[in-house]
Symmetry: C2
Subunit: 339 residues, 2 copies
Amino acid sequence: MNYMLKDENAIYYECGYSCDNALYLRLGSEAFFMTDSRYTLDAKENVKGAEVIINGDLYGEMLKLLKSHKVKKVVFDPKEWTVDGFGKVSEKSKVVFKAVLDFSHKKRIVKSDEELIILAKAAKLGAKAFKNFAKAINKKGFGEDEYSLTHMAKGILGDYGKFELSFDPIVAINKNAARPHALPTETKLEKGDLLLVDAGLKYKRYCSDRTRTVHAEKGFVFETAQSFSKKKIQKAYDTVLKAHDNAINKARSGMKAKKVDALTRDIVEKAGFGEYYIHSTGHGVGLDIHEMPYISTKSDTIIEDGMVYTIEPGIYIPEEFGIRIEDMVAMVDGKAKVL
Amino acid sequence: MNYMLKDENAIYYECGYSCDNALYLRLGSEAFFMTDSRYTLDAKENVKGAEVIINGDLYGEMLKLLKSHKVKKVVFDPKEWTVDGFGKVSEKSKVVFKAVLDFSHKKRIVKSDEELIILAKAAKLGAKAFKNFAKAINKKGFGEDEYSLTHMAKGILGDYGKFELSFDPIVAINKNAARPHALPTETKLEKGDLLLVDAGLKYKRYCSDRTRTVHAEKGFVFETAQSFSKKKIQKAYDTVLKAHDNAINKARSGMKAKKVDALTRDIVEKAGFGEYYIHSTGHGVGLDIHEMPYISTKSDTIIEDGMVYTIEPGIYIPEEFGIRIEDMVAMVDGKAKVL
């Protein structure tokens, strides 16, 4: 099979190296990694199973390879390529370019044993970082605003530069937590506040992802057992936790992803919070923070052993509060194992 | 004129707001900003001069608007659009889609007075951050590795969460500085090392960009006057500084960009370091860290008042050291003014 890749993680998956200016071409058993001279040393040291070609004009090089190898057909993912980049490769060429959406993501949906080990380690490091973040907040975080707490989270998650982050951490207080993708504000953390933290780090390029919502009193920890002083918050919290646990306990290989979604959604709906659960149950995690399988109401994807995804139900009541509890699971021996 | 935009900064430039999932359509005097429900509140508060439309299917919405307004022709930048996204808008449509490379960047090449004020402020904040970074290194940076120094730089540049960064700072010691886009390593900073720092922050979404290379002895500062103990390094450093100053002193509105490039390159070549000057003299800076004008050996762009770009000659001797000195300049009254 022939395929050409542009996405950094798609390329990394094939040959163990990538950078922000690279193309990859697989032609049957042959493979080519193209980059510019800034990355010559790194590419030659790290690329496995592909010939490294240095050329400032990556698209021109791709075109040349397709011609010189008399390629008839090549697969590409139209989400990975810009109209401009694809045009440079395709306009002057007689090759048949076959568009396959999510080509690389589909290849990566079931993780290898090696990937599962790396993802488990990423999740462990993420969980440890949450512990350390709770300690840091208890020590010096009360009275600080969301900007400052976010910076604190970044330092701790990344172990001060050792790890990249999966995404910019979300640190949201009280009603700010009602926006699932909250940006930081100048709201300061006071004792007794609701605090939502959604954060992850990358270990060997693989992402972790975790959310905890807590009643931030002196000595709090990011565990799932929480008691809030407001009844309405506690009811919503208990509902989210029940939904989260239900999916983890009952998800099985062989189920459709939408069935897993229903394992959280039914519980939230029965508790009367259905309209406030405004997103899917979860998403796959790997080299990308969002990848397949998507655990949504519409997904017919069959869950299989080796898939890794998040379970993250939430309830968001505008201008009041938001709650989300998220863990990563791997399907092992037919069941969901929390990483 | 009709045009459609996908790029976040291109959209921000038009209407003063953007987010990571948005499209923008300008039809003569009418304009439309499309995003999903996560951004409803923010968009309605901040978008100026365009109707806000909330729709989870952005491409479908764009298609609908093009149809309902009976649009005949619309400009787009093929670098901004993926084959997939563009296909969704164009495949079912009879509109003529006119590809204009760098459409938004071309509009933005000459900065308004308001933009110049913001960019000057960004540069001032960037320079101040370099001062603070030098203080921090003198206090607790010696003995730390590049990872840790990079994290320190991020905190200081971003004022611990207040500002976003223009890009991940480069902090490179001795031979690591010979890679223009160096990634951090475990190399520790010792007194007397060569230290290269390339970093910038965003103020009101506009980028700053600055590089200094210093002889990191106790009490060092990120000024351009530096004395190194090795003769070869000093010779290279003096050459880079001379090239940098020459371009700043002699760049004029009306010149071609390649002439400005020659103002640095000629000096480096005459000093015998030509083969080690492996990149262009500079690039425009604005909402994007790299935009027009590009100051390269091949650029015929005419430099005009109101353009803002970097002057950043460098000499990179593999396995030995790298030197780069970078400032942002704005063309004012025909001359380059350092921001």
